[in-house]
Amino acid sequence: MINIAVSSQKGGVGKTTVAINLAHAFARAGVRTLLVDADPQGSVGLSLTRQSRLLTGFYDYLQDPGIALDRLIVPTRLETFSLVASGQASDYEAAGGMGAHLARVRTFLRGVEARGFDLCLIDTAAGLFGVTGDVITSSDAVMIPQQAEPLGIRSVPKLLEGLSRLRIMNPRLTVLGVCLTMVQHELAESAEAAAALRQLLPPEMVFRTQIPRDGLFVRASARGLPVGVLEDGAGAQAVFDALRLEIEAKLEPPRGAFG
């Protein structure tokens, strides 16, 4: 099994949209995928499950060693796609020192692997500390959605410093790269910021696929669906299929195919 943390230094960059739709893309391709909402805001759950606030979730599992993993896993209509909500304990579990939940996070991931999943995609809270730090130091890989706007991109140095520190703790961590999100080609500042980031970072660190700002995503979350399920979502789904293929290519040489 591969586990990938979807993380960002800054909030509001489209991280949850990437996590949901990327997980769906993998699941559609036959990869047994578990999408875990490790964001205390519970955005995955809020997007896909109307009763998410009632579900026992990831943060409950961290808090209570008596909770069995099987209680958390919520199947979907797509056989290869399951979810874990953030849970009810998440309201007060945003902070906390790094390392505090490391043991439980790793127990969680071992349990997920034992249940036959090929991919565990974890949507983390913004920032690279606390539980998010524990998730990244327990993950095989991390990908970083980054909004294509100047203010967000100025946070990149801090992001890289944070990842460098976490990689000392987890030398096996593969940095898949930065994925530009909410790209608006018609807006000069957005296009310039995207171009500047590509110029700044090594090419292999920035995914070729970029996620456009699109009203489809708003509509999809309003209906509790991944965007690819919408009747006019084929174009958006193709974007995430391309992102999936890029990730598979990055992971394949050292780790072999999923599953």
Partner: protein, 198 residues
């Protein structure tokens, strides 16, 4: 308008990015050697103390000739370096209930470890490195390594450069205690009058 360069040191960012994009490396030591068995569940795991390894040789540091003073602090009495470090170890035990200490140099080489903490050396050095932010000195960090034991890692600037002290204590040390430990270790490793190399 350039959206990045007035705010970003591009060379530094590229350097960091290139380092991050290097293929992940295997840890320098195996999980087991780092102090954790295959069932590693994190820093909260409790496991039996490793059998004591043969004490590594102490670094050939200058001896002290100052006569011993009353032992109100570990640095009060002078003597050969190894003896002073042992006194410091005893002081750590008395003051902070430390069940053992070890000291690494900036390259990670063992300066002192008489209790076979070699499984913790990699962890301590990693933590010390991880605590360092660009432009600052490393700060102390601690991790829980057992149900009732914490590894306190304290980088200390000394006359011999930055040494990394690892102390196995019942619980994390408060800031004032960390400061007194830093002062004591810096003092005890300080070459004094007549303390030149022989």
């Amino acid at each position: 308008m350039d959206p990045l360069h007035p705010w970003i040191d591009a060379d530094e960012v590229r350097r960091l990015a290139m380092r991050l994009m290097k293929a992940p490396r295997e840890p320098e030591v195996s999980v087991a050697d780092a102090g954790f068995d295959e069932g590693f569940v994190g820093f909260a795991a409790n496991r039996p103390t490793a059998p004591a390894a043969a004490p590594p040789p102490a670094a050939p540091l200058p001896e002290r000739v100052t006569p011993p003073a009353p032992e109100s602090s570990p640095a009060a009495a002078r003597g050969p370096f190894l003896e002073r470090i042992r006194r410091f170890r005893d002081w750590m035990g008395g003051q902070f209930a430390a069940s053992g200490i070890f000291i690494l140099d900036r390259e990670g080489a063992v300066i002192f470890d008489e209790n076979g903490h070699n499984r913790l050396h990699f962890l301590a050095r990693s933590l010390a490195l991880a605590s360092r932010r660009p432009g600052t000195t490393a700060a102390n960090v601690h991790v829980k390594i057992g149900a009732a034991t914490t590894l306190e890692v304290i980088p200390v600037e000394t006359a011999y450069g930055c040494l990394v002290l690892g102390a196995v204590v019942p619980e994390a040390l408060p800031p004032a205690a960390v400061q007194s430990v830093m002062t004591a270790l810096a003092e005890i490793t300080k070459p004094g009058d007549g303390g030149g190399a022989r």
